[in-house]
Structures are given as structure tokens and as C-alpha cells.
Subunit: 476 residues, 2 copies
């Protein structure tokens, strides 16, 4: 918080100039102060060429500093920091899966995912980073200004300090726009969450080699491409307040319905109170018993010298990689990663009601959530895992969608620092009467504005749905 004098002046509780300022930056899709959007690929390639990166899978015993605890079978780091791979047991009243066990990553510390913003010629720009993560397809992706766990910034691995971190730690002259704790991938992480931050600074900022200034509109353009914008960046982007939009200036009815969906003065199928009540009921209904257990006690998962995996190959496997790099805080390291089996699907089914676009969300339970459920995409699964069991609702609607109804489609990877080429196809599919206004239990139609309101607070929207909100915002 800002330092206060004894006779302090008061501030407006809400920053009313922000939506218009965001709109200016969103509208700047072609160029920014540092580069045109069509120059970005060249810039990223230059950054990739500046270093030599090499990632190779190695047996667990070659992971420097990592070992299996002999009592528990957990895979841990000798410092006791970073993360560990442990077991999780979930007992629920779900008929299909009343109890399951799985390996899970445990990293009981809050990370910072922060984007630094600054106005150039009256237009907000984001300081983005070309960051290498061993699990990223293509290795180098566009990341927030700062992406650091406490182990990073307290320098457990004795590397160099995290650049720009001070802007996210109360440096004088900074102004916080967004700062909210959001969960990360509850299916694979035990109660992990990160501060998702936007911080504005008016003074001079030196731009290091791996960093560049892009408008929000430029970043949105990159969100439309496969495997360019990394998961932390997509997550932070989704937490931005809505830009001010002119409904009458949209190119077509679909875009007009999207603008109306953001407008708090337009109607919605459900009032905000009804949305919160529905969420409360969903959260109250689940009766779960979740415990961390020793990795030894996870049935059906087996360890070889190179992987921990299920006999039937479903879900994911745990592997070890050795990393050689020149652009991170350290030059080389090795670590475990989770590698899912197959490309996932995460999709919003959307529908216009009375000219206002609504998003069909699912109240979704994941074993690693701090608080039972969060709102997820309409569909979120890896289809390969459902070859022999009943497929999730709406999967067919999404997979068989006519091309003309697909409003967004791109492949993005989950966090490359923990997950190896964990790709998901993100889709926004528009439907009409074939999906009813009254959806099945556990689903609800919300406006984009209602989702954005919930994103001011933590534990409402899961990481895949946050990526989809970033995708929806990239549409227009």
C-alpha cells in the first residue's frame, strides 16, 4: 500500500479511468512502441538463437539433488525446497470414481506471476519476457515479466536475482492494478497457487535483452497462435478488468453479443446473486476426503528407473529431465516433470441469449484444489483417457462442431516448468438451441463480465477456464 501522511487524502475506491485506458491498449493490435506485431516472430527467434537450450530425458538417479525418500517413496529435493512428487487419495461420493489415488506435485509456497505495465504515448504496454521452460513445446515462450516461486526469488538454487521482482514487492512509485491468488492445475498440483499481478510504473524502466514491450492488443494477437503465450501469462491476462467497449461499433452480431456480455449494465440469464448462490450450493454439496499419502501407497502406479506410470498408460507419467540453458537464473539443472498422455481438450460452449453471449461453465472438482470446486471449462479432459469409459458431457458437441461455429481454436501448453509438452487444444464453440438454457446439474451459463467479476477473487475460476477467458478476450 502507499505510504500515508497523518492528514491523508482519500482515493476513489475504484479506478474509473482504467477501463478506457485498457480499451486503448486492447485496440492497438498491429504495433506498439517497440515493435510491430509482425516483427514478433523475428524477435523471439533472435532470443532463441542467443542461447543454447537442450532438454533430455534421464533416469531418476541422474537428477542432481533429487532422490526418493526411502520411507515414503516420494520424490524430493535435497534442499527440502522446490517441490516434491507425493501421493494423493481422494474419496468422493461420485458414482463413477468413488475413490482414486494418483501422484501429485506438492509445492507449498506461493509464486508470483506479474506483468509490469507502463504507458508509452498514452497507450499501456506490458513488459513481456521470452522465457525458456524445459516442458514448453519450442522451449521459449512469452511469459509475464516475473514468474517466480519463493524458492526462485529466495535463491535456493543460488542463481542470480529475479529481474524486475522489486516492482512486485512494493517499490515506491508502483501502483497495483491486479493482485489475486489463483489456483494452478488442481489435477496435478496439491493446493498450488500464485499471485496473479498487474503493476503499473510511470518512471523509466530499463529493458533487458529477453524482454519486450507489447500492447495488450498485441499479446491478444499472439494468444491466437499455437504455443506462443505461456500458461502463467494467459492466467495473468485473464485477471485484467474488462476494457470499456462500444457495443455499436462491433463488426458483427457475434462481436456485439460479446461486448454486451462484458457490460454490467446489460442483462444476464442469472443475477449475480443467483450465480453466487449456485456456486455456494455446488461447493457445499461435495463431500470429499482428500489426503496426501506416501507415493508408495498409490496403487496401480509403478516406478521404473525412468518413469512412474500406470500399467494402462492412462493420465500421465512422471519423468526426469536434464536441462542445459543459458538464459535462466542458473545455467543448468535437472528436475522431474509430469508428462500427460495425449493432447487435452478445454472448451467453452457459448450461446447468445437475447443478444448477450453466455459461457457454459462447469463446477469442477479437482483433487488439488484448496476449496473443493472451481469453475472450469464446459469440457476439460484428455479424450484418450475416456476410450473405455463414459465420455464427459458436451465432449461430442465440441469435437463434432461445424467449423463455422468455432470462434476460437489454438493449442497451448500448461506450465512448462512442471509439465512436459502438456498440450491442450483450447476451443470456443458457439451453439444455439441444441444446448438448453437450463443446462444439466453442475453447469451454468454466465456472462463474460460475470466471470471477470469472479476473477477479482481467488478460487472461483480454474486455470484452464482462465486460459479460455484470455482466449475469449483475444477474439475481440
Amino acid at each position: 500500500m502507499t505510504t500515508l501522511e497523518e492528514q491523508p487524502t482519500l482515493s476513489r475506491r475504484e479506478d474509473r479511468s482504467l477501463p478506457a485506458r485498457l480499451a486503448l491498449s486492447v485496440a492497438a493490435t498491429d504495433s506498439g512502441v517497440q515493435m510491430r506485431t509482425d516483427e514478433f516472430d523475428g524477435w523471439l527467434k533472435e532470443r532463441a538463437d542467443a542461447y543454447s537450450f537442450e532438454v533430455s530425458q534421464v533416469p531418476f538417479q541422474q537428477l542432481k539433488g533429487w532422490f526418493f525418500n526411502t520411507d515414503t517413496g516420494n520424490l524430493v529435493h535435497q534442499s527440502g525446497k522446490f517441490f516434491s512428487v507425493e501421493g494423493l487419495r481422494v474419496r468422493s461420493k461420485d458414482d463413477q470414481f468413488p475413490v482414486w489415488h494418483q501422484p501429485i506435485m506438492n509445492q507449498p509456497e506461493v509464486g508470483i506471476l506479474g506483468i509490469l505495465v507502463k504507458e508509452f504515448d498514452g497507450v499501456l504496454h506490458c513488459l513481456m519476457q521470452a522465457k525458456m521452460e524445459p516442458g514448453n513445446p519450442g522451449l521459449l515462450q512469452l511469459s509475464p515479466t516475473v514468474q517466480a516461486t519463493k524458492s526462485n526469488y529466495s535463491q535456493v538454487h543460488k542463481g542470480s536475482p529475479v529481474r524486475y521482482l522489486d516492482y512486485f514487492a512494493g517499490k515506491p512509485g508502483t501502483r497495483v492494478i491486479v493482485d489475486v491468488l489463483q489456483s494452478e492445475c488442481g489435477a496435478w498440483f496439491y493446493r498450488k497457487r500464485n499471485r496473479n499481478m498487474f503493476v503499473e510504473y510511470e518512471g523509466d524502466i530499463e529493458v533487458d535483452d529477453d524482454f519486450c514491450w507489447l500492447t495488450i492488443g498485441q499479446v491478444n494477437e499472439l494468444v491466437k497462435r499455437d504455443n506462443v503465450v505461456n500458461m502463467p501469462a494467459r492466467s495473468v491476462l485473464s485477471c485484467l478488468p474488462q476494457p470499456q467497449q462500444d457495443h455499436t461499433a462491433q463488426p458483427d452480431e457475434f462481436h456485439a453479443s460479446l461486448a454486451a456480455s462484458r457490460d454490467p449494465d446489460k442483462g444476464a440469464l442469472h443475477t449475480n446473486s443467483e450465480v453466487l448462490s449456485w456456486f455456494t450450493v455446488e461447493r457445499s454439496t461435495y463431500d470429499l476426503d482428500i489426503s496426501r499419502v506416501p507415493l508408495y501407497d498409490v496403487p496401480n502406479w509403478h516406478r521404473t528407473d525412468k518413469e512412474i506410470a500406470r500399467e494402462d498408460g492412462r493420465f500421465f507419467r512422471v519423468i526426469g529431465v536434464d536441462v542445459q540453458a543459458g538464459s535462466r537464473e542458473v545455467t543448468g539443472w535437472s528436475q522431474p516433470l509430469f508428462q500427460p498422455h495425449g493432447v487435452g481438450i478445454a472448451a467453452f460452449v457459448v450461446r447468445r441469449f437475447a443478444g448477450v453471449l453466455h459461457v457454459l461453465v462447469q463446477a469442477r472438482m479437482e483433487g488439488g484444489f484448496i476449496d473443493v470446486i472451481e469453475l472450469g471449462p464446459t469440457v476439460q479432459c484428455v479424450p484418450w483417457n475416456y476410450q473405455h469409459v463414459k465420455a464427459p458431457l458436451f465432449l461430442d458437441t465440441v469435437l463434432q462442431a461445424d467449423k463455422s461455429t468455432i470462434r476460437y481454436e489454438a493449442v497451448h501448453a500448461e506450465e512448462g516448468g512442471r509439465f512436459y509438452e502438456a498440450e491442450t487444444r483450447y476451443l470456443v464453440v458457439e451453439v444455439d438451441g441444441e444446448v438448453a438454457a437450463e443446462p444439466p446439474p453442475g453447469y451454468a451459463w454466465l456472462t463474460v463480465g460475470q466471470m471477470t467479476d469472479l476473477l477479482r477473487h481467488g478460487q472461483y475460476v480454474n486455470s484452464q477456464a482462465r486460459t479460455l477467458i484470455a482466449c475469449v478476450n483475444a477474439i475481440g
Copy 2:
């Protein structure tokens, strides 16, 4: 949610008529459709006389259906339902208390605390209940329409169905105004929370003997008295949206500053974004390791045939009571209760900045919270426990406050269904320059409106601070 037709009409996202309707009900302090406020004591006494209640402490072995598990020492019910008394171990980085153990109540089910409202002559009235709880001073207090755990309403104890429950379970014609999961007493309960609900119904409602219609203004008058309005009722009241207020029509500058504190268009020391960021930092900072442990493994606590207590008598003791009653779902039962040692203090220190009243809240850690911290009162403690250790900050400010600066003072009990005569003196104390605009770490000045905004969501405001918000709203 309301049932939807295939060509649905949209609703306003926010109910803009509610603040004015609430204001009408708040203003009706002297009388309502059923009784004048000065008739309430007579009504409550009549309800008390209609039944015979008797509560007596008994040895644990006389608690019907309750026994100590021989492996763990936990005190449990033979049905496996209701609650159990177990052990808790908290490890923190707090210098004064790096680790502590204590008994804790574990009740892993969500309860409903619901007030049914209806307009009479254009004024909203609340259907309140005279409810007996064995731990209440005076036994009978004013409670919400419905106050039920899942064990209650699924009739584990084979009593009669909970009256009016259907209004809180989607009965056609009901309209949800508030429905939010709030924590309950994190110092004594492990992750307990309840749905705090207001539901409106326009149709006819039959009023049973133990129930009465009161305006919000009438209930506020009763909140000013000692031991009349029970904890669940105070909690639900605190979650109401702010009534519309005319700043210019206030009796004095203090009340005008309170009205300004509720107004989102007035300024505040900190923007809403700064408040959320401060809270995020506080929640990220705590590094806790909390585990349930067998009650046998809680050091310094000892069990006799009549109590579980510390040798030094500090904090609280666990006792058993036998209850004879005629106005509940069953006629008699026995159960354990927690009995704290001494009367607690819970106080808001408030201060006017530029004509806007601010409340000094503390980011407070309690072992039973689901999510590390919530905002608590400026001071929350039982002073007797601090005879030989450093007293909490601001305790002296509150205890030594000049009478003219005490804006509110009354004694209320915590939940009488679990806590035996657990009385707390609730205070609102106004200060000026003696408490700085920049408070110590872990404290922040918020407006009443900012607190109310947070109360739309769970896990921001603890139960004692919620009672204090109800007290502040009773002031005017």
C-alpha cells in the same frame, strides 16, 4: 436458480431496487407488522415460559451416544455424524507461538443459516426464531429462520423435520438475496462453515409459535442489547448488502461519516485494488503446517471424568451437558460443549479520515480456517489468557477508552450449540490521531462499504468481525 424457458428473458445482473427496500426496513426501528419493538421482551418471555429447559453438566460417560475412541482419544458420536472433538497441531513462523496443540471441533459438513424475508405494507420483515441452545446465556435467543447442520436436516437424530427448510432449498417462488459460505470460529472449529442466506418469498407464510416477523431496524435495536441476538443471526445480518443512505440526513458528524463509509462513491484510504492486494500479501506470507492429530497427542491437556482442560486453566475446557427441552426437533439430548475461560473482547477501532469512517481490521490467522487468514477485529482475545504474556496490540486502547468514544458496547455469546456461555464483549471505539493512518503490519483501515463488498464472498471476514459489522450497522 429460476427455471428457464427456451426463449428466456434476461435479468439485471444487480438488483438495483434492493438498497432502497433495505433502507425502508432499516428505518423501521420502533414497530413492525407483528409487534412493537418494546413488546419483544414479553414475546420472548412467553416463548421461554412455553417450555421447560434444563441444562446440567454431566460426566462424559453419561453423554448418550458419545464415547472416546480408544485409539485416538477423540470424543465422537456413535452415528459418526454431528461433530467430534479431536486434536490440532499448528506449526507457524510466529516467534511467540512457533507451534501449538489444542483440542478442536471437527464437523465436516456445511450448515444452513437462513433468514426468510417478506414485505408487509411495502416493508421487508425477517422471520426470526426464538431458539434454545444449551450454551446460550438465558438459553433462548433470537436466531435465523433456519439454523441447521446437515445432520439436523437429514434427521440423524430422528427428530421432526426442520421448519421452513424448503424455502432455502429452491422452493418455487423464492428469490435468493444472499447465499455465501462463511467460516465459523476458526479458533475452535476445524474448517467449519455455513451458508449465510437471505431468501425472499412473496406468497403466504404460516408463522409457527416460536417465530415472529421483525423489520431489520427492529433486529438492529435488539443487536444493541446483551445476549438477545444469537451468533448465527448476527453473522447472516452482516452479509446483507448496504442500504441506501442519505448522508445529509444524519443526526451528527459521526453518523454522517458512517453513511459516507458505506457509499461506494465516497473515497477511502485505499482503493479496492489496494485492499485486495494487501489481503493477498497477508495470505501469501503465512507459512503454516496444520494437521489434525489424535486428541491423545495434544500435550498439556488432560482428561478427567468431567472435563478436558489445560493444567494452567487457560483458553477453554471441554465439558459434557445433558439437555432437557421441549422446543427443538427432539425433546432431550446430551452433547459436549467448549467452555472458554473468561469473557472475551472483540473490538473495532474506528477513525474518521476526511469525513469517512474507517475500521481497523487485522489479518488474523486461526488454526481452523480453511485458508490461512481472514480479516478479524482490531482486537480479539480473552484478556485473562494474557496475564503472563505480552498482550495483543490495541487491547489497552480499547480497555482504556474514554466512555464518550465508545460508539457501541454489548455482550454477545458465540454459538450456543457448541460453546457454553462463551461471552464476548463487543466494542466499537472511535480514535483520532492516537492510532496512525499507517497502522502496524498486519492491520489496515477499510471502509464499512469495503468490508460489505468482501462479505459477498467467503473466507475474507471472520465470525467475530462479522458480528462487529452487524453491531456497526445497528449504530445507524
